[in-house]
């Protein structure tokens, strides 16, 4: 039930943001279409932790802004490699353990690794990722542990 209400609120906020209409008739059509969508989603049994991730902490935007800073730093590092005269490539396929508890945590961790330029998650098995790193610095284990620690702080309430 909480999931249904959460999805309804999120859908209607999206509807308002994209339409920008505030006339009563159009608003009620918006509410009706959101209600119909939630009904369909519940009939399809989609109202779980994956589709409506209400279990994530509200500090998620803070994590995103921290990640944004990290992305910028590693983008500068990758740019240096690209622009250097003899590109110092040190390609590696490394195993990264994922200590997170939930599926959503694993997804956020793997996507964060991929978002950071210089590292890409290639394959996932339970508890472990195969990560391709462009340089030696990008493959430092401390960097991954730092991301995992921060994801663990937002994955469950």
């Amino acid at each position: 039930m909480t999931k249904a209400v959460g999805l309804l609120v999120a859908l209607f906020a999206l509807w308002l943001a994209l339409s920008g209409y505030f006339k009563p008739f159009l608003l009620s059509l918006g509410v009706l279409s959101c209600l119909f969508t939630v009904y369909l989603a519940s009939r399809m049994k989609l109202l779980d932790d994956e589709a409506v991730p209400l279990q994530l902490r509200l500090s998620l935007p803070l994590y995103w802004s921290w990640l944004g800073g990290e992305i910028f730093k590693s983008a500068v590092a990758v740019s240096k490699v690209i622009l250097s005269r003899d590109m110092q490539l040190n390609q590696q396929l490394i195993a990264v353990p994922s200590p997170l508890k939930t599926d959503m945590g694993h997804v956020i961790f793997a996507n964060s690794i991929t978002l950071t330029p210089g590292t890409v998650t290639v394959e996932a098995v339970p508890g472990k990722f195969l990560v391709h790193a462009l340089t030696e610095e990008a493959s430092a284990a401390e960097g991954f542990q730092e991301i995992a620690r921060r994801v663990a702080a937002v994955e469950t309430r």
Binding site: Q91, L93, T114
Partner: protein, 125 residues
Amino acid sequence: MMDQALLDLALDIASAITFTVGGAFVLIGAFGLVRLPDVWSRIHAAGVIDTVGAELILLGMMFQTGLTQTTLKLALIGLFLFVTGPTATHAVANASFVAGLRPVRLRRNETADVLGEQPRKEMQP
């Protein structure tokens, strides 16, 4: 009135800086796509474009539109790029891995630690 003019000037300068830096990252990424030796390293050059390049240009546009509905839509585009970008990158990387491509001059390979022994034969580009 003076304050409004100053604020507009500050916003113009902020968006000029973000556009320039974002454009520079897109250019560097495009340069990397040409220079780097194989598909694995080129993925990282594309990553520079679709994370920092795209997001900075969107941020510059948000400075220009101010507190309007357009800004909200730009923020939503940025959020969706933030989620779909790595998904697409992972799809390309995983497809080339499954197809048997391996990076050139690989220094460290811990594939066996993750997947066990590899029955597929390796294909060198």
